[in-house]
């Protein structure tokens, strides 16, 4: 296979360094990714909040997990965008004709996705704190929340890689994220699923966002997480593995 293994990690480090510069120089993309979810949060808390019955006294707490998932879902669109551009502009061909591991450039994008989504997640949590978000969670619960968010990001990132590698236009590379951004609306992210009509409710209760939201919500409020966390993890890992296999296949064929 690849005989360049002795430099694999330093090469990956160089790719990550490249990506980090991309992020730091395009903070506007991170702002773009955070602004819509923050606007949603403001809208739901200050406009609809009074009318929504969730059975909690702190609606920001209730809302935050769904808002974070929404931000990540829109953030990964930039991964396919960057990947698509790299392929179009030929820089991947340059890398692939050099004596470096074939997968290093791809992992560079995946790591970028993790870092940039972590930054947007932090920004949103800070805004939520200003809006009244409070959590009684201990360090272990926070770590569990972080782990779920990282897995969720990775899962969607590999989906984004498929989109970026197989798209034929910039719009095509990013369009796949629109339905993902709307998944939280048909979940327990904003209103309890009990308030929904039966068919919608059935969908909402069985799609990944609901169990992920419920698990994070329970962790942040020190409630028992029950089965939700396992269902959430299963969804994330499942999507990640399937997407990874198809992404790698697309990478082999295309790049």
């Amino acid at each position: 296979m690849e005989t360049s293994n002795n430099h694999y990690f330093s090469d990956m480090g160089i790719m990550l360094g490249r990506s980090m510069r991309h992020i730091l120089r395009s903070m506007d993309t991170i702002m773009t990714v955070t602004i819509t979810p923050i606007a949603m949060m403001l809208l739901f808390v200050y406009v609809f909040g009074g009318a929504i019955q969730t059975g909690t006294d702190n609606y920001v707490n209730y809302l935050l997990p769904g808002i974070l998932l929404m931000a990540i879902s829109s953030g990964i669109a930039y991964t396919s965008y960057r990947l698509f551009l790299d392929m179009q502009r030929g820089i991947f061909e340059r890398f692939h004709s050099m004596p470096i591991a074939r997968s290093a450039p791809l992992w560079g994008h995946v790591l970028t996705s993790l870092v940039s989504n972590a930054i947007s997640t932090l920004v949103i949590i800070l805004v939520a704190l200003v809006m009244g978000f409070r959590s009684s969670a201990g360090i272990l619960s926070w770590l569990a929340v972080a782990a779920i968010l990282v897995l969720f990001t990775l899962a969607l990132t590999w989906v984004a890689v498929i989109a970026g590698l197989s798209a034929t236009s910039i719009d095509g590379a990013t369009a796949f994220s629109y339905p993902l951004i709307f998944l939280p609306f048909i979940s327990s992210a904003f209103v309890p699923t009990e308030s929904m009509p039966p068919v919608v409710r059935a969908f909402a209760e069985n799609q990944p966002v609901t169990s992920i939201v419920n698990a994070i919500r329970a962790l942040l409020s020190s409630q028992p997480v029950g089965n939700d966390i396992w269902i959430a993890l299963a969804w994330c890992v499942g999507i990640m593995l399937v997407a990874y296999v198809f992404a790698m296949r697309a990478y082999k064929n295309r790049a």
Partner: protein, 253 residues
């Protein structure tokens, strides 16, 4: 001793049902400039991709620097560099950062020094710390080629290096290729223009309908063209000379 940098025998490649290469043969002498001439869609990029290990052939063999591209791709990659048809530069990074990145990926001792030298050689020192997104087409191409020279590879592939450049930029690229040739690097370039091949190459091969239909020095090839074609060929430089005279550049050499 190894006299040929590149040896291609019976190379075949089809995309689904579209046969592109149908038995391509040629050799490229070490330290020479070889021009592969062909119209748009002839299969030039396909050959470059096979020789640079980006694509696998369906049949035939190709060796670069003595290594079979299909069997020892890693050794081939250590011997070559590719300047693809579309500038392979990172737009967000600066020119200097692009060069340092490549130098680090090639594990060179002093990446900063390597970058400085190439920036200077390619007249990019002034623009070195600007994002490449702000560069002109000619500057981008220069940086692109500079990135290919990092680490002094023995064989350099240039896929249509002047397509899309204005005459001024084209002449800059020609100058660079001539310098490379003088330094003993083997240069494999593709072009759609006979004039360009004529300016640069020691050996010219014409790719048409999946095969090499002519291969030799300029003098060899000229004998094969009917007079009418020679006349057409002679016209093009004249137009460029007029253009260059108008914009006040010296006559090209």
């Amino acid at each position: 001793m190894l006299n040929n940098s590149i040896q291609v025998q019976g190379l075949q490649k089809s995309y689904k049902n579209l046969p592109v290469l149908q038995g391509v043969d040629f050799d490229v002498k070490k330290g020479s400039v070889f021009a592969l001439l062909g119209s748009n869609g002839a299969g030039k990029t396909t050959i470059v991709k096979i020789l640079t290990t980006l694509l696998k052939q369906d049949g035939g063999t190709a060796t670069v620097n003595g290594f079979d591209v299909a069997v020892k791709p890693d050794d081939v990659r250590r011997s070559i560099s590719l300047t693809g048809q579309f500038a392979a530069v990172d737009e967000i990074l600066t020119g200097r950062e692009n060069l340092i990145m490549i130098a680090r990926l090639r594990h060179l001792k002093d990446p900063n020094h390597v970058a400085d030298e190439l920036l200077n050689r390619f007249s990019l020192t002034e623009a070195a710390d600007r994002a490449v997104a702000t560069y002109s087409g000619g500057m981008r191409r220069r940086l692109d080629i500079a990135m290919s020279l990092v680490g002094k590879p023995q064989v350099i592939f240039l896929d249509e290096p002047t397509t899309g450049l204005d005459p001024e930029g084209r002449i800059e690229v020609w100058k660079i290729v001539k310098e490379l040739a003088n330094n003993g690097t083997t240069v494999f370039l593709t072009t759609q223009y006979l004039e360009e091949a004529e300016q640069l190459a020691d050996q010219i091969a014409i790719l048409h309908e999946g095969k090499i239909i002519a291969n030799g020095t300029l003098a060899d090839l000229k004998k094969m063209f009917p007079p009418a074609k020679v006349e057409y060929v002679e016209k093009q430089p004249t137009l460029e000379e007029i253009f260059l005279a108008i914009i006040g550049k010296k006559e090209m050499k």
